[in-house]
Point group: C2
């Protein structure tokens, strides 16, 4: 049974706090292991990567076979059924169309003091995308990571994807081609992250590493952060559905289950203005759980982390939602746009009953890599900005320097940074000569 | 003596690589200490913060005196000399004018398939700015951190600034007021970072922590990352000056020294097309070092980390610059705009001989919190974006779902995520009924 809460009840706040504070993931502490792996890869390069791949993925590689060859990729791509290929192409096209709009503008202007100021965006030169192997090897995630990088203009785009026992997912390779990925390395784990960050004899280092992974990958990303850029460290997936009674309970049950089926640690929450409707959705979840393929995982998630919260008003719903700061937020109410304007913290919002969250996972266009674990309070989903950086620009004329230079000199002196002040003063003196 | 290199020499590449790889900072490993401090603060709140402040800052606080009172701030602000106050006001105004232009636009559009898509930016609710105490307590950094937060619309803006022995810098308080800071806590170190991230009885937790600090502060920021957002972990400051022979050697000497005087680990590099001019700048540095207040620090930095590199062309200079990915880049050449367009990786560019880097530190307008240690390859200086996050929006109509829904269903099936597919299928079935 999920938790049932009602804001009318005296113990609501305690129950809601418990829900917020529940630690859903007990990530094993793998930091020492990961530190060892990284230092081995830095020291011995390919040799270490090959040894570790043999050990963890039961796969024998040589420097020549660390990357898939073009012929291998051709062969794997040819195995992708036409319907899947077409679906990936439509997804890539729609994700591209959305992300192209995110490209920020450069700017340059001259202010009233005569200072010319501005900024310019440039792409990172090389990015490495981590793609998990096995069951969690999602071609949709390849598109969600690689397309923004491609749109940003990243020159060299590579993937590291382990192939345990040598098994590769043809759709992953197909998605990689669609998104302009140059090379796919069949390596994974902390060793792949280390190889991407520091480089080996056959793997040139990248500047930015993104993509999901297990505890080893997450710990490795944390460790190489600073040497390279990384995206967020994602936790278990979450959905919050805010719904009035005018909805099909089965639709919402499926939406809740589509997070729950990811992982027993995933969390699905329904907030509704109608307690009876909440109960109907919970019944619909139970019904669907009787036949769902991943009923074990989804059932565990719903029972351990699920919640149905009854509120007195949509205002109250918006307030609770901001405290949860959900990764995915569905607004199944009469006027979802109006409600969405009252929401401040959410990764992605899905408006109205015809927008199931799964549309956003695959084909809607917005990115599905989103902030989890309440981090939507301070961070955003993946975007082209993750593959760009901004250089600021400034040019003073002699007049501009005369106008604003003395204040810089004053502040430099107040901070006891004499050379700073002198670098301005020497120029002013020459101008005044 | 700094290193002198010439791209003409056979051993240039080895020398340049050594310069790139030189580890300039030997940050002590304080991670265990910091982990202990954070757990104490989480467990005992104010009590731990007060004990640690007594221990590290020789200052006795009570829950009532952890924050400066309004009267104390009034009194400190009244001590700021008029010239400094005016300089801070001009700086705040110019920084604000620059950062206002960074505010990104929201977007919402309907695509040919009938899907309405977009995004909306919202500020983080609460931000905490760390301001070092003692010598490195820079009012300019208060403005550079707080003004972008204020422009972004952060509701609650607080500062943590240690006051060793109780000594506060009036200009820091004045700058805080100018930038709309609500509360200034007189605490520092890892205990301040922990208190901001997790909250105590008297300190409400924030969502984002920015600002420079020593090794303890940096380690604490790394540790609380995920619970809250953080800005970059800054290393020692750097400047690269690219200059032709048509410059005043003394100007450039002062610009190089204005980084060198920050810290013995700072790095100042001159790249010039004229070896004789390079030698003249080096002589000018030596001359200035004879009288500079911080000659010890600046001299150590210049001797240990400084470099003068002679190149055959500005193209070569741009290439080397991108490999260095400097925090600050001055282009003192005839056509600095043209050269700037060949640069891909730099935190901030200063164009022409009348734009000393110190202008950017204080008064230019662009932010002075910039990526160090080659991280300009993948990251940007501080901006309003650091205090905003983006929520993506999507709304399908029944027709849009009919058009793109089937592809989502196909991809969900290919990833063995049945509920994802069913959440689309159930809706399509109802629409087709």
């Amino acid at each position: 049974m999920p938790v049932f809460l009602n804001t009318r009840d005296a113990d609501f706040e305690a129950g809601f706090q418990a829900l917020l504070n529940a630690k859903r993931e007990d990530a094993p502490d793998v930091d020492d292991t990961v530190a060892g792996i990284i230092s081995e890869v830095r020291r011995r390069g390919d040799e270490a990567v090959i040894e570790l791949t043999e050990k963890f993925d039961r796969l024998s590689l040589t420097p020549e076979t660390i990357a898939f060859s073009e012929a291998e990729i051709d062969e794997l791509c040819a195995r992708v059924p036409a319907a899947e290929a077409a679906a990936l192409e439509l997804a890539a096209e729609r994700i591209r169309a959305y992300h192209v709009r995110q490209m920020p503008d450069d700017a340059m202007w001259t202010d009233p003091d005569g200072a010319t100021l501005g900024w310019r965006w440039t792409p990172v030169s090389a990015a490495g995308l981590y793609v998990p192997g096995g069951l969690a090897s999602y071609p949709s995630s390849v598109l969600m990571n690689a397309v923004p990088a491609q749109v940003a203009g990243v020159e060299r785009l590579v993937i590291a994807c382990p192939t345990p026992g040598g098994e590769a997912n043809p759709l992953v390779l197909y998605a990689a081609r669609l998104a302009g990925v140059e090379t796919v390395y069949r390596i994974g784990g902390a060793q792949a992250v280390a190889a991407l960050a520091y480089g080996t004899q056959t793997i040139a280092p990248v500047d930015k590493i993104t993509g999901p992974g297990n505890a080893f990958v997450a710990a490795a990303k944390r460790r190489v952060f600073g040497k390279v850029g990384i995206d967020m460290i994602a936790g278990p997936s979450e959905i919050l559905v805010i719904a009035d009674a005018d909805n099909d309970p089965d639709f919402l049950a499926l939406d809740l289950l589509s997070q729950a089926e990811h992982d027993a640690s995933a969390q699905s929450i329904l907030i509704t203005t109608d307690a009876a409707f909440g109960a109907a959705v919970a019944r619909a979840v139970d019904t669907r759980l009787q036949t769902l393929e991943r009923a074990g995982i989804a059932g565990d998630s719903w029972r351990d982390n699920g919640a149905v919260i009854t509120v007195q008003s949509l205002d109250e719903a918006a307030e609770l939602s901001d405290r949860i700061a959900p990764e995915h937020l569905e607004l199944c109410v009469e006027n979802p746009e109006a409600l969405s304007e009252r929401i401040r913290h959410a990764g992605a919002i899905f408006l109205g009953q015809w927008t199931p969250e799964a549309i956003g996972d695959y084909i809607g266009g917005p990115n599905h890599v989103l902030p989890t674990a309440r981090s939507a309070r301070f961070s955003s989903g993946l975007s082209v900005l993750d593959f760009l950086k901004r250089t600021t620009l400034a040019r003073m004329t002699p007049d501009a320097l005369r106008t604003i230079g003395p204040a810089a000199e004053t502040l430099a002196k107040s901070e006891s940074l004499q050379a700073h002040g002198l670098s301005v003063r020497a120029r002013l003196d020459k101008l005044n000569r």
